[in-house]
Symmetry: C2
Subunit: 412 residues, 2 copies
């Protein structure tokens, strides 16, 4: 049997993750999280990082069976614990200049059969512990990126009717294409893609919309944008001065909505995979920025627990635009993985906003961000609301409406 994961393309994915994703600087340390299954990519990333002059690459691995060992054997009290010492250490490493890469690729439904109360408690404990490290990512203090590896369990969820090797081969092809490593010169391909996204963000930033109004696909939703918001997409400069691509792949342009100015109803257009569970058929109503009604045809209990994580979990922290014709969307695949699915569709995110999505965001205090409408929460969960029927108007401060999306595509 031939290897379903071509090693040359894996080398190029490692190179793209280090050079484009991180733009790792000589002497920078790197903290890398990954499932053990992604070891072939982790080894290549480490080699590429060291060739780029990395100080020390420290990998932190996870394993699905180890996670399940906890759910199947641990005492009840275990589910309120988290590795705060590890996250606090990561936060200190970021302060000292380390970059961060996450490689995703594990089973998106690993925990779907486990006790959802325990899943939710463990997730919340982990979110609280992770906060000091996550804040530095959310504030874009350092260059960071997320890339992906075609894990067998993940492939099996996407292609349940195929033999494992075929499923992995299909997921591999999708990841390699979306990550632009099948093109002649992947780094040049990424430069062209980043330039195209920059054209969109420059237009949006010139418009200075006060709100976006969504219709179609079950939506009648007005999303007020934060005061002094700024659109971002593709390559972006972290506060440490390094221009990086936080997601490999990425197709979105995004900014910060106003936490108190969201009104109306919206439906999810794709299932949401959250902490190993699938939530389908989400429908919510916003009033004064807050979700006041929520239901789901599957996983409603998980959704409601998520919304109750903290006060900010019922408000938006991100609004993002992705045309329906984007390559990931055109693949027709549902990945059950935010990194891919959010880049196939217009989406919103519950929870924490990105401070970089403000004019001069790097200079703003948490209080100033909140005053401009930036939301705060320990969660940040992206959730797809776009489709081929989606129309979006930009509404300026004087009430003028400007077409932004028509039938799921950029209006101009």
């Amino acid at each position: 049997m031939t290897d379903p994961i071509d090693p040359q393309h894996l080398d190029r994915l490692a190179e793209v993750a280090v050079k484009v994703g991180l733009n790792l600087q000589p002497g920078q340390d790197l903290i890398l999280t990954a499932p053990i299954e992604a070891l072939p990519l982790v080894r290549r990333v480490a080699a590429a990082a060291y060739r780029a002059g990395a100080g020390l690459v420290t990998p932190i691995f996870s394993d699905g069976d180890l996670t399940l060992a906890r759910y199947r054997n641990a005492s009840d009290a275990s589910f309120d614990r988290a590795a705060d010492w590890l996250y606090e250490g990561m936060a200190r490493a970021y302060d000292a200049g380390a970059a961060r890469m996450a490689i995703v690729g594990d089973d998106p439904m690993l925990l779907s059969e486990e006790d959802q109360d325990k899943v939710s408690r463990a997730g919340k404990a982990n979110s609280i512990a992770y906060r000091p490290a996550l804040e530095k990512i959310a504030n874009f203090d350092i260059n960071w990126t997320i890339a992906s590896y075609p894990g067998a369990a993940w492939a099996g969820r996407m292609f349940p009717d195929l033999p494992e090797a075929e499923a992995v081969a299909k997921l591999t092809a999708a990841i390699f294409a979306a990550s632009r490593v099948t093109e002649g010169d992947p780094v040049a391909a990424w430069q062209a893609h980043n330039a195209a996204l920059r054209t969109r963000t420059q237009w949006l930033n010139g418009q200075r919309f006060a709100a976006l109004h969504y219709t179609g696909a079950g939506a009648d939703l007005t999303v007020g944008l934060a005061d002094g918001h700024e659109w971002h997409g593709g390559a972006s400069e972290a506060r440490n001065g390094v221009v990086c691509n936080p997601n490999i792949p990425t197709e979105e342009v995004f900014t910060t909505p106003h936490a108190a100015r969201v009104e109306g109803v919206v439906r999810a257009t794709k299932p949401l995979s959250h902490q190993g569970s699938l939530i389908e058929g989400i429908e919510v109503r916003f009033e004064g920025g807050r979700i006041t009604e929520a239901r789901a045809s599957r996983g409603e209990a998980v959704l409601l627990k998520l919304l109750d994580t903290d006060e900010g979990a019922r408000r938006l922290g991100e609004v993002a635009l992705v045309p329906h014709s984007s390559p990931i969307s055109a693949s027709g695949l549902l990945f059950y993985n935010t990194l891919f699915d959010e880049n196939a569709s217009c989406h919103i995110a519950l929870g924490q906003c990105y401070s970089k999505c403000f004019l001069n965001g790097a200079t703003l205090s948490q209080e100033e961000i909140a005053a401009r409408g930036g939301n705060a929460s320990m969660i940040h969960v992206d959730w797809m609301i776009g489709g081929p029927e989606t129309d979006i108007d930009g509404i300026t401060a004087d009430g003028t409406r400007v077409p932004v999306f028509r039938k799921g595509e950029w209006a101009e």
Copy 2:
């Protein structure tokens, strides 16, 4: 082909590591380090730990190829870096009550072909970074243990002429036997073994020797014992009150020598595997407790770099007695792994002493330990000096000589 590592015995090894090695307490977190190859044991340890009531089990994995990726690709400056953030975090976790397990099993000669200057610098940087966490282990603040997994590269070093599966099967059998998991009731077998070791330590503690005098096997060595030293072996109580077995397997009884009272010459009776290099034919002279002459027939440069790590690296921090007929010695195997080889032979260790090897050690300050002759260093390297010719006399304060070992065995 049958699995060369029997899963039932692996389950029992996990059980012994958690129940006997750690004696993990309900609610205790566990930090576990292991090579990725040991994943089948790590998963079983996690399950056993959670069944024992563990809070959270956090595994930190290493990988030989990742380590080599650094040596083969990194810039020179990389080799002075270490993951201080990770070790400081571990130290804080121990302060907060976590237990610690290390699973060893990687290639003992992984780094033997790499630039030894880089190996030494990376080792030193790691030792400095590791110090805050290692001190809590050395001071026995918490229950901890080391167990082992039969990794293929390790097995290949021990049995270079055998096919991999046969080599792994042989190493597996040796590990299972030495770890007492092939016996009917492994936990009861460990209780009996601990009782036998306690008989030896009680006799030695009753004698209150001022020094041990070694002859045979190329030795004429007088090792002064620290003032107020105490012999330990087998199960022992950590400062957190938990009685654990820090090594699985263990055959030694050991105490703290006096850092300034070692005189004479001694030869290594087995090769020493240190940081992926093999040091053979070590011969040293001690004067006033300090190594003043040192040579080796192989790896002398590695030895000399080790001795120059810091001032305490040339002085002894441990002296340990193991009869030549001990099961690991009787296997006739050289493991190239301290956990096994030190338990096949009388040995001494360069570097840091164990504060628990003093009467009321838990109450002593670093200054009081130093005043009693306890050595301090960032290294602790065990090194085998016993064999079938080894004679040892205990010398009491008034000069009386008492036979301790004759021809490699306990004299009584």
